[in-house]
């Protein structure tokens, strides 16, 4: 599996050290410079919740939260994020308790095949943290970076609308916790 991450050319390039916190756990890693954050997660760390859709920043399936902000993990190099804190879909739930956004997606049946769902969830949490989506139209516009080929959009919007207040509260609790 990891062969795709090894050098394909004749020259040898050394790996680089990477200290990164992933879902609350500090990790000391060695990565090739050309390893994207997405490939690090899936191929090296086997955190396969984050999905590879287009691998070109067009679909949003690979969305993760980098220092609390949603980004496309396919379009950034892992090595550039030394010292960062990363949350993937695996880090949203607390033990057996689903994140409010996850619970709302289940309640509203906000998926069919589920491939876009991890990205939708991380993106929706990131959008809530941004605090700029105050109407359903704004919500739709600000979720436009996450495509759903099954077309579950009405249910996705309903789930996010319902989960935003509880997500806001949880984000506020977490930032309070960090300040202590």
């Amino acid at each position: 599996m990891s062969s795709t991450l090894e050098p394909q050319g004749v020259k040898t390039v050394a790996t680089c050290p990477l200290s990164i916190e992933i879902n609350g756990h500090p990790r000391q890693l060695e990565v090739y410079p050309w390893t994207t954050l997405l490939d690090l997660l899936r191929e090296q760390l086997h955190l396969t919740g984050t999905k590879k859709g287009c691998d070109h920043g067009q679909c949003g399936a690979c969305t993760v939260l980098l220092n609390g902000k949603r980004i496309n993990s396919c379009l950034t190099l892992a090595v550039m994020h030394d010292g960062a804190s990363l949350t993937t879909v695996e880090g949203l739930a607390k033990d057996d308790e689903l994140h409010p956004m996850q619970a709302a997606f289940v309640k509203h049946d906000a998926f069919q095949c589920g491939y876009c769902t991890p990205g939708q969830l991380c993106s929706a949490v990131g959008m809530t943290a941004e605090g700029r989506a105050n109407t359903p139209d704004e919500l739709r516009e600000q979720m436009s970076g996450n495509l759903c080929r099954c077309g579950a959009y009405p249910n996705i919007v309903a789930a996010i609308e319902e989960a935003m207040p509880a997500t806001r509260e949880q984000l506020a609790r977490n930032s309070k916790g960090e300040g202590q």
């Binding site: 410079p33 050309w34 994207t36």
Partner: protein, 327 residues
């Protein structure tokens, strides 16, 4: 992606000093990594500039704003000073890309994004921009998204940015640093038309690094609009976009600015035509005159003739919207 080596300097001079012809600076990476995955760009060495001290938005001595090259598109669009003083810029940025991309993409990188011409991205077809001298497939190919102004025999690609259209209308200045020192480039002189060197998107010298973009202290917050016409309502590049800004004396024009996106290899303006409108009534007839002047010489290709009339109507509509307030 091809293998490459990687360094992460912390100083601006250090970063500029590390540059070699086969290296590239990387910041947000949202366009560069895509180009590397498609094998359009294959640097031997990446210089990660994300740790350089270029992340602030500060007031200039003249009362304008100096935006560090590493300020993300999201942070810029949602900066309180920008929203208040330059809402045109906020609107243009938020009309582009997706929230995830805007969180990574930087101010400097936005200026340097490359065209989304299909043939530039398709390494199996000739493209003068990608491979000088190989030919232009777009001229006889699918060219619905291509240029109607300023194109050349060699290239009919358009610049893809929304942010740059607003920066052109706002008369921004780009500040760059090279081994020879710092230089200031008027926004109109930063991007270039393709001519017979379509491989060059801009006037940066090799190894020069964008450090900041400056906005002059001018009042275009009250009457401005960014209108973007595209194939879907969100997350698509512009077919036509218009950044329009006005200063009014009652119903008369004191000053007007219009920049067009999606029509040329660079944001398109006509300052002489804008100047002719000073003192004229701010109405649709006047706006139509400006639209005609901006579109003088416009010529389309097989699939994009519609853009000429679309641009004319979009200009008039954007200016009409701008009169109503910030739209």
């Amino acid at each position: 992606m091809n293998p490459f080596s990687y360094t992460r300097p912390t100083g601006i001079d250090e970063a500029v000093g590390l540059f070699t012809p086969d290296s590239r600076y990387i910041a947000g990476g949202t366009n560069l990594l895509d180009l590397m995955k498609e094998n359009i760009t294959h640097p031997e060495h990446l210089i990660d500039i994300t740790r350089l001290p270029l992340k602030d938005i500060e007031e200039t001595a003249e009362g304008g704003l100096r935006i560090g090259a590493l300020v993300s598109n999201s942070d810029l669009a949602w900066n309180a000073r920008i929203e208040q003083q330059y809402p045109l810029l906020s609107k243009a940025i938020l009309a582009g890309a997706s929230p995830q991309l805007r969180n990574m993409a930087t101010t400097g990188g936005n200026l340097l994004q490359r065209t989304r011409c299909y043939y530039f991205y398709d390494a199996d077809t000739p493209c003068n921009k990608r491979q000088p001298g190989s030919g232009c497939t777009a001229r006889e190919g699918l060219n619905r998204i291509h240029a109607i102004l300023g194109h050349s025999e060699q290239c009919i690609a358009v610049h893809p940015s929304d942010m740059c259209v607003a920066l052109a209308a706002l008369d921004a200045t780009v500040i760059v640093k090279g081994i020879g020192g710092e230089r200031r480039i008027a926004f109109a002189d930063f991007h270039r038309l393709p001519g017979n060197k379509p491989e060059r998107d801009n006037t940066l010298a090799e190894g020069e690094l964008i450090t900041a973009v400056e906005l002059p202290a001018e009042e275009y917050a009250t009457h401005c609009a960014y209108l973007k016409i595209r194939d879907r309502q969100s997350y698509a590049f512009a077919l036509i976009s218009v950044a329009a800004a006005l200063q009014l004396d009652g119903k008369l024009i004191r000053s007007v600015r219009v920049a067009l996106g999606g029509v040329a290899h660079k944001p398109w303006r006509n300052p002489q035509a804008e100047a002719r409108l000073v003192g004229r009534p701010a109405d649709k007839n006047t706006f139509g005159e400006l639209a005609d002047a901006l579109l003088v010489g416009a010529t389309g290709f097989n699939d994009n003739q519609f853009k000429i009339e679309l641009a004319r109507r979009a200009i008039v509509r954007a200016l009409s919207d701008a009169i109503e307030g910030a739209a």
